[in-house]
């Protein structure tokens, strides 16, 4: 490669490296703000603000979902397997909402153990399987939902 071409290539790659470094530092500084949510344990420790809209995330505890007979009110428990948080919500739940499934709820804390949600989002994991596979997995006792390593 001719010298002037090589110098140009080095300049371009050097520039890219420098800008990448700057972007990496910005992202590192902001990393705690990029879609951050509070697991129940942090809420119970008082790390979550009470008067602001926040997000909490975790798994829907088994046998905790209670639906109102009339209307769209629903209450359930979110757990991170250490602490729990009671969530109340009125509205349509996403398809994936299910006991054992990961959810992210947006709203305000009523107390350290109670949360009033204005929005509930379900999280889909990376696994895709046909219904028959899920049925046989359930039948033979393997848990279908990943044990939420995502959170």
């Amino acid at each position: 490669m001719k010298t002037h071409r090589r110098n140009k290539l080095i300049a371009i790659i050097g520039g890219l490296v420098l800008i990448s470094g700057a972007v990496a530092l910005i992202l590192y500084a902001l990393s705690s703000n990029i879609n951050h949510f509070y697991p129940p344990t942090e809420v119970s420790q008082g790390k979550a603000p009470m008067d602001r809209t926040i997000r909490v995330g975790g798994l829907v505890a088994y046998n905790s979902v209670k639906r109102a007979d009339d209307g769209l009110e629903v209450a359930f428990t979110v757990t991170d397997n250490q602490n729990t948080l009671e969530v109340r919500y009125e509205g349509i739940l996403p398809d994936l909402f299910k006991e054992g499934q990961g959810v992210i709820a947006e709203g305000k804390l009523v107390s350290k153990t109670e949360f009033k949600a204005t929005k509930v989002l379900a999280k889909h994991d990376e696994k895709y399987m046909p219904p028959e596979v899920e049925q046989s997995l359930e039948k033979y006792g393997h848990p279908v939902q990943s044990k939420s390593t995502e959170y």
Binding site: I92, L96, P131, Y151
Partner: protein
Amino acid sequence: MAKAWRWFHQLGSPKYLFQKTGQWLPWIWGATLILLAVGLYYSLWASPLEARQGQGHTVRIMYIHVPAAALSMVGYIAMAIAAIVGLVWKMKMAFAVVRSIAPAGAAMTFLALFTGSVWGKPTWGTWWEWDARMTSELLLLFLYLGFIALHASFSDRSKADKASAILAIVGVINIPIIYFSVKWWNTLHQGYSVTQKGALAPEFQVPLFTMLAGMYLLFAALVIMRLRAEIILRNQKSRWVMEWATADAKKVTHD
């Protein structure tokens, strides 16, 4: 060494590139149509539903969404590489390639965002969240559109090529951010399904991989068609273009 680089220099010749791409194009289109026909058949009819995606058929959105998202990133990387070649080797055809990829790449990015949104509403419960994966993909759309706008804002073509090439190269930093976003941060978007073993059941792999191959070829066909128009546009005054145009005109009048 000189021989090994010959193909590279040959591709720098507008006439050679125009002729070669003209020979490839029918084959690429043929393979595209076959793969997309087979892929769509598997995607829309001959594949099972997903266990947890309650609305049943929403899983089928994946077969368009994943290839579109992959191509939005691969297209941008190709653009950045061509931009580096253009700047370092002062190769005009490389700049023509960069400019030809941009509209197809922008279309794929839009398609990925749109299909993702339509899938997200029933599955997650939201059309849009400012999560790291979605925000960085939206930034990619703006980079493509910004490139197109920047190139169009110069009246001098070689200035336009150089300035927009720099934008294309700088923007490539966003690509690893998009790709690794689901690993680096807690995102609403799920992690890797395609590359992680066992995550995607084999029933879903057949339609997805066929659609991936078909969409890659479709992307190549679109870029090549745009590139050929770009070559003609940039070489209007060359003799071979004049001859090609008049030969074509004669054929039309004789028909």
